[in-house]
Point group: C2
Amino acid sequence: MTPAAPAVDMNLSVEKMEKVAFILKTTAHPTRIAVVQLLANHESLSVSDISERLNVEQSLLSHHLSGMKLKGILSSTRDGKNIYYALKMREVIDVIQCLAACTFL
Amino acid sequence: MTPAAPAVDMNLSVEKMEKVAFILKTTAHPTRIAVVQLLANHESLSVSDISERLNVEQSLLSHHLSGMKLKGILSSTRDGKNIYYALKMREVIDVIQCLAACTFL
DNA sequence: TGTATAAATGAACAATTGTTCATAAGTTTG
DNA sequence: CAAACTTATGAACAATTGTTCATTTATACA
């Protein structure tokens, strides 16, 4: 007997769904997606560097970055006056790629 | 010469980043993730069916569903008294899988 | 037609996110 | 140590999302 449906193996617990939602929400913002993009190609960048590249005001960017760090997506290390952020949860790259690959977007 | 970085090919335009963010946001909620999960395995389900399975109140679920439909993630067709929803943008399955596969979640 | 069932809608409100601004905290260098 | 520079922080406010509830719309069927 064949199943009446696509049969995609995906059985997330409620807890896991909440975590997935949490990560998605943390990423779901143009500026934050841009940050992930940048850090996907750069290993690590300082706040002011990111700020200039993305043309986002320091404080606002800092809020975004620290939020993403808090939620485990980024990591940061200080070097002198600068603080360098890096992509910790590299899986989010794949997530973005999945959608970016959609032709209809 | 080797690049100083991971070199992930991902160059989204601002417009595309906004669209990706849009889809992520539309999915980033435990109930909506559960809906995607269900519809990944069921082809199509009526509102009351989903409502019972997920234990979410009719009106609230309807709001979620129509939002997802509006944003192109789901489609719906009426059959008699019921309205059946189906997954239109199947790519979101992959997106969720990407994250669900993370062992650390 | 009237009643029951299924789902959508819209207003009101709650909760969460996003943004701005002023200021603080850490670091370097003269 | 003071000045300059980089980033973080917190309060205030704006904007968006999520939820509830009452009501409406659409369909079936007695």
